[in-house]
């Protein structure tokens, strides 16, 4: 089965989803990413979905769950690059993205992760205001 590559960049992990994932592939990414976080002691995760032209409820839930799992493991995550049409559709569909932090692009996502790294105590308190 085709896999989504997970790259290590310093203390962070970068996942760039570039193919239209089928359901098992999305589930495998969840397993691979959580293993990799523990294995390399990652301090944060950036998930780039700018190439995804659709996110349905299954993929949306997978992204939200993966974000929560990464945070529980101590590696805050940011989902970056959601296309505007995808954002509109996800909200109308009614998917609950609670627990998932997002940023417009990789630069902003990286800035959020670096700030988290600098202020680990403020991490929880700041989350609601991103």
């Amino acid at each position: 089965m085709e896999k989504i590559p997970i790259l290590k960049m310093g203390d962070f992990l970068l996942v760039t989803i570039q193919v239209d994932m089928h359901d098992q592939m999305a589930a495998a990414l969840q397993d691979d990413l959580t293993s990799k976080i523990a294995q390399v002691n990652a301090k944060g995760v950036l998930i780039d979905i700018s190439s995804l032209d659709i996110v349905d409820s299954f993929i949306g839930r997978m992204l939200a769950n993966t974000s929560t799992m990464a945070r529980v493991l101590g590696a805050p995550s940011v989902v970056v690059g959601m296309q505007p049409a995808v954002a509109i559709t996800l909200v109308e569909l009614g998917v609950n993205l609670g627990g998932m932090r997002t940023a417009l692009n990789v630069e902003r996502g990286m800035a959020i992760l670096r700030r988290d790294g600098d202020n680990p105590d403020l991490d929880g308190a700041a989350r609601g205001h991103d």
């Binding site: 239209d20 089928h22 659709i54 349905d56 409820s57 299954f58 109308e92 569909l93 009614g94 609950n96």
Partner: protein
């Protein structure tokens, strides 16, 4: 009816094929990017429903021409267990599976026309249409 195209759904990878087929037709009739995304997403939800609840089914796409107006219609037909209570099944958050219960209600919100017929023990047919 201008064009029809049928895709079988029997595995998770077929949901991706359905998304691509719907996207191709939506682009062909020049739906806006947001409308393309909405009907592709609705089709993805409905195709997954067929797979999860009925073990699979058939998706037929139709390009419609109504005067100067064009539209894309997708029919989802399965011969699964059927849905005993359609009102309940359309309600957000209701599910007999392990998902979020957004498939039917969510898909309905993403399209202009939505029809569902089901005979318990026989079949379920869902039709969605997005007009340009």
């Amino acid at each position: 009816m201008v064009t029809t195209e049928t895709t079988s759904v029997a595995a998770a990878s077929d949901i991706v094929s359905v998304r691509h087929a719907v996207r191709r037709r939506a682009v062909e009739i020049h739906l806006s990017l947001v409308d393309q995304t909405k009907i592709v997403t609705a089709a993805s939800e409905l195709a997954r429903n067929m797979l999860v609840y009925a073990g699979g089914g058939q998706v037929t796409l139709e390009v419609l021409q109504d005067g100067v107006r064009q539209g894309l219609r997708a029919h989802f037909a399965d011969t699964g267990p059927g849905i005993p209570d359609l009102d309940l099944a359309l309600r957000d958050g209701f599910t007999t599976g392990s998902g979020m219960g957004l498939g039917l209600g969510g898909a309905k919100r993403l399209v202009n026309e939505f029809d569902i017929e089901s005979t318990p023990g026989m079949d379920t047919r869902v039709t969605i249409t997005r007009w340009k």
